[in-house]
Symmetry: D4
Subunit: 237 residues, 8 copies
């Protein structure tokens, strides 16, 4: 009855009509190759997250070349992918260049699900006029993902200026009192702007999924999830 | 140029078309009465949060009797209030009786904004069949607020069973390793179920506001927020 | 050789040409009265901090009526006091009404030293336009004390808009992820705005003293502090 | 009277009738070889834990080839080993592939003591039906070791579904609010399911030993432990 | 569909053949009376935990006099109770008098379930000979609950001397570096004695339930828990 | 075999030739009276620590009047007491008036053991000349107990100026970053002055006992502690 | 509308009349080269901070040779730089050699802005006479930056001896209770010397900027900062 | 006036009659060589601590071969050294092999000062009889240094069995709830055995210095420390 260590649940993906995501951190290239081979055999697409350049480089050429890889966000697209079906619904706003990897992970996760997001980087509040120049644009998006580290003040300011759903993603950028992102996380949770929701530190993938859940409201999908079609978890976490 | 300590910004409320909320914790009954008097004079309604029974009792009778007060959630409705304009969109699911105050704060905040939520209490995962009996109902709601303390496992389980937006609210119920809600908060943030978003500990008010932001997506309100109409902050925090 | 527990060092005050401050927290009204009596006898003035209304009420009438007491900031002026010798140099900017006690402690400490500060309350960034309406005024002050709790975003935004010295004072207002002011403290320390300096949580007294130290630069006082004239510590802490 | 740094207490093992375990973390391959040589000389078997592949590779060939090594769990069996004397008593249930090393450490520790455990991996609660499909099986085991990181919700759900002894082992898998396993640890300790006991983070070895202690109850061994036969500690920790 | 705040699930108790426990902390005497009345009506017994003397005193006389109340452990027995069916299986060993409330909570929880435990108090390791005088007795018990605060060294020493299952319960006794029991908790988790399992701080109730789960191994109850008979959670937590 | 909750081990005191100490925090006046009565019957003296004025007031008059009580240190001497046998060996140096209770607890603990210490209060480093005026005196003592809260800089400065044994006692005085004494504790542990040893926060009793242990070196007592004469622990902790 | 990841805002620098700083930590040499090229093209100078020797070595020779690089402080000057316009205004005082990198970062940041500071290293309070020999000199500076790790006692002692503005910079030097600089940070915040302000751990750059802000008071620059001339943030943080 | 980064204060050593110690962690081999050369020139001996094998290997052969290096404790003796003048006064007792580096650092520090200590390793309380076999020996020493990680129970047990001065040194050995030695540190501080003093985590050097301070009591050295002869700090920390 003892099971193997890698049990990829493609049934989940099939039942849900969603492509599956694979968290690559902590997996060997051998384990990842096993999953890719199974996906290939079934003809399903996969989103790979936290795929380091090193591990990507050690994958067999047959797989490495088939992956649309982004080194900044450490994500890969493998196999068939959805076409873009939604644009203009999600803005991803990041405070600085150092936050770009997290912002890009969110962007790529959304793209894999068919949602094209707008990304605006380097509008931290230390130079408030940068943000002010963009704020009219940002307010047009019903969902805004705010990516910021250090004091995370960008998320509070944005949530005070935008009426839509604001999803904060603290980042671990910095040192000392930054406490590896814990300060940004707490600052977002303690925000004086009401209704700001928060994801785990550096979790662009999670923020994108929260955005997808919210977009489903507008799509009136609320009744279509029978027992067999739960949203998938991050595979083999 | 020095300002008084209490500067209630009714202009905000008027510009936004939203009623204003007053965080009563840390305010004397005198300060609260000042705000109520101003609101009365302008004919605007107010949501009062964290209004303890003691402070409520010390308000002048003229105000105390005009407040629709709920002792469990420590909230009050004062003055004119919106009619219910939305039902069946938000479910509030709480793990145990001890989580009821937070769940009720969320419910009352939504009600004040015209949204009637469904509240389901005492479905913690220690007795999983209680939740399983209700899960088909819960999945019909596009927005689910999951209220849980201690291990907060309810939020993860719900986010794995529900396709809509799930907003987790950790509560401070318990002792020892509970760490006044910090454990529940971290467990929600670290959830293996993807796309779960989180609010501050015991912050039913914040979760309700996040739900209101999300519901605006469906209402197609995304373009209607010019500079003058930012979502209000918690007044005089 | 064993000393008594209360050793009030008036010599310090005399040598420095500064009035002395007494931290009343943790002292009985009897101990405070002893110090007041000694000050009276010498004809020197005192600033009393953290003097709760309860302790103030239990002081002998002879002392209680001689104290210019402020219940919000829990400070008292006793005996002779300096005239105002400086105005327009320090602005104290606070995010919300709950931050007023700390802002007022700073204001009163400065006033006791002859510096009249401007106080601006309820300009938190959740409603950014409130701050924007005041920012031109605030920038005229060479020293700005920024008082904010929760996410403390006000301090970062201010330090990004003001060229003078900005001294942040985090406050302990709030609950949960606020962590009794630790989050605001860390956020200020981790601020993306460069050159923001920080004091202990709720320490309006300390911020005022830092401002006094900075103002001495302009007054060209730098050479006038021989061995006998160190800045005093908080007496009998 | 000064002692050497490595004092391996074989007398303990002999008195107790149990094989000895060696925690290899923090020991050089030279120190480990010394212990192996002594064990070989006495003809006793050893369980090696936290033996990294690197250190394993640097052991002399004479030892490396005699070790039954498992790279996933970083454990080794050296020398004579007990036959399997118990099956069907312990289930090890892990939430995801990343938890496999800890689950396998528990499995191997039990095997070395003659207990064959059943291992079930990848049944985390994010996809609850995976667990539900296995729950009837799991309930047949009097002792269940629940291995889970992140939110550790699996342990709470299991302890609510299983009547036997449930031993939780939090793992350090993840990032950010996961806090290197501290969140999973606290969540298990704070579990709403009563009677869940917990071991240190990543401590599959400890959980297996707790299971062995519990199995002794059924074996009616309670009277057979005179002074000379204490359970051994982890040698040379 | 909205539920009331207090939903007492007697069905659980009936299905499981176990009496139900009510965590009274955070419940008003009115809420407790409601549950007692329902239990009385059904003729089932209840274990009340964390029932403070104050709340006990405010219960209606009809209930207060029917409760077998223990002020030290803050527990109450209400209604019919099981006879003692097991003795000599569980020893509860506590380091000092201050740990007695937790030890007694464990004892009373076991007694309510029909298990008579032996309680040994004031054998902390600071005076090691006190423990040594009792250790031969203690080793006869297949399950030992070790209750200790401060450095919790008693639990490590016991787990090194006893071959049975040792369940550690850290207590919150002390100040400073004690960190409200967190130090004792961590010390038990980090114990150098292998196989020590741990419960939450001050959780005598949980330790007793873990002991009951372990005793079931000896009773060969492992197959008798169909879907309807899960172990109950702490009611209405 | 079950023991009572209060087991006062007078045998310990008798064997060691030392009077016994009773930690009164967490004990009812009834429990304390029981111990006093037993001590009276045996004719032994007791040191009572952490005896609050409230509990002291509720002791029976027969006991209250026999206790030499000190409200500042919350200590009491009961029954026969040693004469002073040592002077000039221990200096207790405290930074401020707020640290006096801890300093006095150390002084009284030493006095009860026959050691007369010198106490010097209000020499914190914020006014360094106060300390400098006393440093020649302080250096004459072979053992110095340094009592300081907040930044605890006094302990580092003293350990850099004094050649004898320096025992630091951090105090919990202050707020915010003081973290209830944790900052002072860590600062002492991290001191740049080598060989500074540290006790728990506010633990004047422990520091005095460490001093007594050190003084025994000079008294050449090192051989006189057979098995029966261990130093006692704090009774019934 | 999506922006590139590196958006260097030279407009800021030009508007403010200040050279720009680039935080190199977390940037590839390619990204840094892009910024340098742009700066070169515009003819503006840059301060590079946290530029590791490794990254410096991988920059193209054309850039590496043009950078005035300091390996201790990991800073570089690139392009045109201000002449020294101020001396004798800022002293940087560090406790030990290990604090030199932070002290030198402050020195170099000031130098880049035209301020020549005096640096005094190895005057920690463990050998108080070293500091005492220098204190008359130090007191002549209107601004003192105190750099210290471990117990950070130097900052408290200095703030008690110096009347000017004292800016504390805790460093992360040490191990254990040092907690990577958190202890020094908290000790400075909790200092018994009033008016000590604090920057983030190891943030010599921030302290220098605070000093620059303070020096502006003396220069009477307070009115010259219209909207377009905010102090810059750390570029592309 | 600006000083160099390395200012070795030999005057201190000369004035005190003690050899000087150099903390090598964080110093380059170049900086260390500079100090060695100066010491050589003056003919004074040095104790080098935290000198890693790597840095030791990169020192010039002229220095490396002159250093009596111990790889376990990472200490070196350089130049002339005191003869042994004291034996039988200090016992160093360590719980396990992993604690040996810290125990050996204490031993070598004492040896450099002329004190020969006895070292006893691998007597952790998990196998209590190992300690019991040695306890009669240990009690003969007036000063006992107890080195232990994990639960640190050894220190409490020792302090309960030994009448002399017990100096606890927590070690950072272990993982998870061990929290890098913080748990052992807190457990020692919270020990139920009275009068146990504590040093920083892994600080064998500090414990040895505390022992030296205590031994001075017996040597009646108390009067011989005029202003010029303070105990040295760790050079150039």
């Amino acid at each position: 009855m003892t099971t193997p260590d890698v049990v990829f649940d493609f049934a989940r993906a099939e039942r849900m009509g969603l492509d599956e995501a694979v968290l690559c951190a902590g997996k060997s290239s051998g384990q990842i190759a096993t999953i890719l081979r199974q996906a290939q055999h079934r003809g399903v697409g996969l989103l790979l997250t936290r795929l380091s350049a090193d591990v990507h480089a050690t994958l067999l050429p047959e797989f490495a070349t088939q992956i649309d890889y982004c080194g900044i966000s450490r994500t890969g697209f493998f196999g068939p992918m959805r076409p873009v079906t939604s644009t203009g619904m999600v803005a991803i706003v990041a405070a600085g260049t150092s936050d770009a990897p997290v912002a890009r992970e969110a962007e790529r996760t959304l793209r894999h699900a068919g949602v094209e997001a707008t990304v605006i980087i380097d509008v931290g509040v230390a130079g408030l006029w940068r943000l002010m120049n963009r704020v009219e644009d940002i307010r047009r998006y019903p969902v805004v993902i705010a990516v910021a580290g250090m004091d995370a003040a960008l998320a509070s300011v944005l949530a005070g200026l935008v009426a839509g759903l604001v999803i904060g993603v603290p980042t671990s950028v910095g040192y000392g009192a930054v406490e590896a992102g814990r300060t940004a996380l707490n600052a977002m949770l303690a925000s004086c702007a009401q209704g700001l929701t928060v994801c785990n530190i550096d979790n662009g993938f999670g923020a994108a999924n929260a955005a997808l859940r919210a977009l489903a409201i507008a799509s009136n999908k609320k009744d279509c999830t029978p027992w067999e079609t739960q949203p998938s978890s991050h595979a083999n976490s």
